[in-house]
Point group: C2
Chain length 190, copies 2
Amino acid sequence: MARKLGSRSEKTRPLVRAAALRLFARDGYAAVPMRQIAADVGVQAGALYRYTPDKQSLLFELMHVHMEELLAAWREVMPDGSPLDRLDAFVRFHIHHHMDRAEVVFISYMELRNLTPENFMVIEGMRAEYEKVLEDILAECGVDTDDKLTTLAVLAMLTGVNTWYREGGLLGRTAIAERYVGMVRCLVKA
Amino acid sequence: MARKLGSRSEKTRPLVRAAALRLFARDGYAAVPMRQIAADVGVQAGALYRYTPDKQSLLFELMHVHMEELLAAWREVMPDGSPLDRLDAFVRFHIHHHMDRAEVVFISYMELRNLTPENFMVIEGMRAEYEKVLEDILAECGVDTDDKLTTLAVLAMLTGVNTWYREGGLLGRTAIAERYVGMVRCLVKA
DNA sequence: GTCTATAGACAGATAGAC
DNA sequence: GTCTATCTGTCTATAGAC
């Protein structure tokens, strides 16, 4: 099979994204120079601008793709059962998805303020859409969602797993998810 | 009454701290130039170095004072009652303290990675000490604290209030605290 | 598509006048 | 104690050779 022209460029592009992801997560967007991303990829800084118009777009693209994948993945696994079943499913989905993508999740919470106002509005809209998924499920479960306190408390608790979960820890992935399922069920009953 | 010599310097110092607090919270440590802090205070950039050896010390001092005050304030109000009473008291204390100091709390979570390794270890130690306060109370309430999941889940839920609470919102401070008290009680029973 | 070289802006921190 | 002026280094992004 003949290679397409320009296929070489499509080898570097994902490396740039991966390096930006890793370094932004580790050191923070503002603290990572383009030169360091380039060094991580194994090219000179100027070459990066073949793949991104600027540093800001690199950040925005990582967060935008993440939010699109998050919303799409939920639509994919979203079950039809009872409200409580759907709540359990949401908790398991959220925990597993966030454990699998620790770096981009971390960036998406930490680097919001380094987005331009236009880019921020896009991401904020998608974040609100995801929050609405949980809010609707909670409402169907009989929770009062006039104020967002319960929704935000549950979301904060679930997302907190991102700050401490590391692969190979004391608890397995499924065990962790089931513990959170139990805690959220308990909050809903109260 | 005669003014003490040097009393004028002690007027600018708190202004520098206040400006750094406000700007670090709004734009992030890395994005705030010393010149902007100076402009906020109403002096030239060079004058700031009468009050701090460098920018890093400005950040560290804000976080360090915050953690000292947090630990001291808890020791002050810590009650003697039953474990469940002490848990309620901790929840109320945490929520109110975090609502009253939104900016420095936000900085303390967001800017950890902009501390030098030495400074990070100091703050991290104090953060662990605070976490231990909650862990001990939960253990006395009969919660299994062999793994830290419950402790961290409760702390994440409580601290989440910082991301959405604004003065003059739908719910009053006390009402919010009592809702969290109810949710935490429920998690402990399960 | 990657390189070298550099433009142009701006950072943290210091020196010395007043 | 604050000023002006500046040193020294680093940043993003671009230009043009190969």
